[in-house]
């Protein structure tokens, strides 16, 4: 019984909507026909308003055509058409349905002329019309337009739209647009004060510009309320600006941390200046690229998993290359740190050229999986998913590494070798093995950093170059041989950099940071968190 009832109601609803639209079309045609009799702009304006007042989305076509100067009247029968200039004649279309209605020469038809005032009226009217759209994003856009170009005439359509709106966020926007419209209307001050409160709660830059114009024009209580609201918004905005800078800084810091953390191990524990570190990152990105290529051609369904698959592979590839470098070159150079710098620089040149020869010098396309694209808002902050995941990933890598160093036998051996190599060797630790595996670990971590950085950087053979100097700065600033130092170093450099950028510009900001680091090293040559030791060569 209930089901039948429901079906009956639905049918009834459908019928009424259909019939109402049928009736509306006849009405609309009657109104549109009035264009044939207008004599001046103000009469045209009246007709436009009449059309708008119907609230029917179908009037969008004739109104848009009118605003563009494409609405014509056929002299023979005073019918109104939308015209489109063809090769010789003007093609005519029905103003409501948009169906082709033959063509006419320019002599047979007259254009309905418009001026700028009229065009503005039409634009506002179209904005009002889209309030009734089924698509929430269109409604949001309409509310936004009306907020930015407030008009007292918008109040009643907005009231209607607010009453029928079901989505809370859109409703809030509509109410803000209504408040903006109230402010420019001649409503009593009490209404305006309430409106200012609504707009003050919105708290963004367009609210400030609107309130500033109100402040300039109004007087008395309204003016004071507007001034207070502006001050309130500005302080929140400053807060959000700072928040935005901090977020950008943290995001940059996470990138620096990823790039530097492998270096912190090789440099800090072994004293090896690995100039090929950036190339390990690059190998990681190219591993990701190859994995994605294989997935694209053979297993398209797995694309969202490509990064997860690439992680262990990148670790292995970069780790094995690192192991080969350590066994093949670096172990002969221990005790001569400056020469490891030269040798690994040579390795980095060769690796770059090898990748260039194999993959070509151009940037490679590495796609974002669906869970890494897009963004979401927190208040006035726009946070992109890929940056957020990279932050999470960097902290995870840091945590795992910290666990390995502090809680596993291997980490214990590494720390023992760092603290006192000879003593560690006397205790039976195979220091050559520890060295080789440490270097492989540092390189492998650079590799998985590459997987993450492939999402935000251009994958090219030169990718590593961009990170090497920054990574060294982070490690040296934070203090070598201390993972916490690297963490603090990365995030503080990232945040300082982003706070300097608005004042100094991106490049100058970076220069200032470099100079600050150089000065800092004069003060504390061993970085923020120096390992304590008793060597003369401090």
């Amino acid at each position: 019984m209930k089901i039948l009832h429901a079906i009956g109601l639905t049918l009834l609803f459908l019928l009424t909507t259909l019939s109402s639209s049928g009736a509306a079309e006849a009405d609309l045609r009657a109104i549109i026909a009035k264009f044939a009799t207008v004599t001046d702009f103000s009469e045209t304006g009246t007709v436009v308003q009449e059309l708008t007042a119907t609230g029917d989305p179908a009037v969008e076509r004739p109104l848009a055509a009118l605003a563009d100067g494409n609405l014509y009247i056929r002299t023979a029968d005073s019918m109104v058409f939308v015209g489109k200039e063809g090769d010789e004649n003007i093609q005519l279309f029905d103003p409501l349905s948009g169906e082709a209605a033959g063509e006419a020469s320019e002599d047979d038809i007259t254009k309905i002329s418009v001026n700028n005032t009229l065009r503005r009226t039409i634009r506002d009217a179209l904005g009002t019309l889209t309030l009734g759209s089924k698509d929430p994003t269109v409604r949001i856009a309409a509310a936004d337009t009306m907020f930015k170009t407030p008009d007292a005439a918008n109040i009643s359509p907005l009231d209607a739209a607010i009453a029928s709106e079901s989505v809370a966020s859109v409703k809030a926007l509509l109410e803000q647009a209504r408040a903006a419209s109230i402010l420019v209307s001649d409503k009593p001050d009490a209404d305006k004060l309430a409106a200012i409160a609504v707009i003050g709660a919105r708290g963004d830059r367009s609210a400030v510009s609107l309130l500033t114009s109100v402040e300039a024009n109004a007087s008395g209580a309204v003016k004071e309320a507007a001034t207070a609201a502006i001050a309130g918004i500005n302080s929140t905005l400053a807060f959000w600006d700072a928040g935005q800078n901090i977020w950008y800084g943290i995001s940059l810091g996470s990138v620096l941390l990823l790039a530097a953390i492998g270096l912190a191990i090789t440099f800090g524990v072994m004293g090896v200046i690995n100039m090929a570190h950036g190339e390990m990152v690059m190998l990681g990105t190219y591993t990701t690229f190859v994995v994605q290529q294989v997935i694209r051609t053979s297993f398209p369904g797995l694309f969202d998993w490509s990064l997860v698959i690439a992680l262990p592979l990148a670790f292995l590839v970069a780790g094995l290359v690192g192991l080969a470098i350590e066994r093949g070159i670096i172990r002969f150079l221990y005790g001569r740190p400056l020469e490891t710098l030269l040798a690994t620089w040579g390795v980095s040149l060769s690796l770059q050229q090898a990748v260039r020869t194999i993959f070509g010098p151009t940037n490679q396309e590495v796609g974002n999986p669906s869970w890494m694209s897009g963004s979401f808002d927190v208040g006035q902050l726009a946070i992109t998913w890929n940056r957020l995941w990279i932050l999470v990933f960097a902290l995870t890598v840091f945590g795992v590494l910290l666990y390995v160093m502090k809680r596993t036998p291997w980490g214990l051996q590494m720390r023992a070798v760092t603290a006192n190599r000879r003593m560690a060797a006397s205790m039976g630790i195979r220091t050559p093995w520890v060295d080789a595996l440490t270097f492989a670990l540092g390189s492998g971590i650079a590799g998985i950093a590459g997987v993450a950085l492939s999402q935000i950087d251009n994958v090219s053979p030169n990718l590593g170059r961009g990170y090497i100097i920054d990574s060294f700065m982070v490690v040296v600033f934070g203090g070598v041989g201390n993972l916490w130092g690297t963490l603090v170093g990365a995030f503080s450099l990232g945040i300082v950099n982003k706070f300097l950028e608005p004042y100094a510009g991106a490049v100058l900001g970076k220069i200032v940071v470099l100079v600050l680091i150089i000065l800092f090293i004069q003060k504390r040559p061993r970085g923020l968190f120096a390992l304590k030791g008793r060597a003369v060569e401090a």
Partner: protein, 407 residues
Amino acid sequence: MIAQRFLSADRRIAATILALLAAAIVVPLLNLAVSPQSAFYIPPYIVALVGKYLCYALLALALDLVWGYCGILSLGHGAFFALGGYAMGMYLMRQIGSRGVYGNPILPDFMVFLNYKELPWFWHGFDHFWFAVLMVLAVPGLLAFVFGWFAFRSRVTGVYLSIITQAMTYALLLAFFRNDMGFGGNNGLTDFKDILGFNVQADATRSALFAASAVTLALAVFVTAAIVRSKYGKLLMAVRDAESRTRFLGWRAENVKLFAFTVSAIMAGIAGALYVPQVGIINPGEFEPSNSIEVVIWTAVGGRGTIVGPIIGALLVNAGKSWFTGVLPEFWLFALGGLFVAVTLLLPKGIVGMWDGWRGKARALRAASLAAEAGADPQAPEPKIVRSAARTPGAWSTAGAEPQPAE
């Protein structure tokens, strides 16, 4: 024995100076006075190319003074070189006068293009050659002095010093890339017309620049040799081999280093100033940290801690680079990378050091056989001749072959 050794080292330096002076006379003559059909004719592009190499050689020699003799691995010498080059470039820009594309008598083209209303203050004076020369010496020298003053007093040594010199180079690279620095942004300074009233492009001017480079290099060899040979040179090597011990003996290690660093930076600046008119352009790319590292390999290939070595290294590596980039461009980086690895692993003393090693062994063997023939000789020379400390770079490392934590 000692006298003989010094004599041979002296002979080598004297030969280098003479060869450079001879080249300064002969090469321009063969270029200008010999007809192009002759087999002895040297085409102008070769003159320009070798002139460029001589500037690189001077740069490598400058690095050798701090790295080979004082143990400071500077990765910032490319920056001193470029600064000297920019000072010369600014002079050359001012000489263009109203012959630029925009025909502005005061402002260089790029300033007109960037809407400068008047000459920035730091461009004043560069229309005089003497001022430009002064700046070529003063700017790199002052930067090195201030940088070294802070770094050496804080006892920033070894790897840390290398890294902060690299940071300095990188910061300068970024700075000179900026358009509003007033140095032409990423296009740099180019389109030079005259130097001292002579056309930069003319064969005679190029030959003269070549001769100037060769003579300057000869002079630098002489000065470096004099420094190294002096008591102060001994102090340099003492700081290199055992800085703390030198300090405990009462010497101010930081002052010793500061002097070497500043002199070396000025030499690098002169090299840059000679380089710019010969290649006709200076742009921020010269500040690339990789350039500075390449200078290190020239020095290492030739043999650091020797005076002739860096010159040979710079000439050989750059000739190789020109040949490779012409014939097998994609293999040049492999070759350069391999060179870095091979030199550090197999030739830690460079070509000159290796040559000395062979000669030393051969001489020791000869002496041993002579001694055996002559019967017992109380004054038998040691089987392996230990050369002066300058000859054995790399051996000052006190630790054995095991990793040293960077701390």
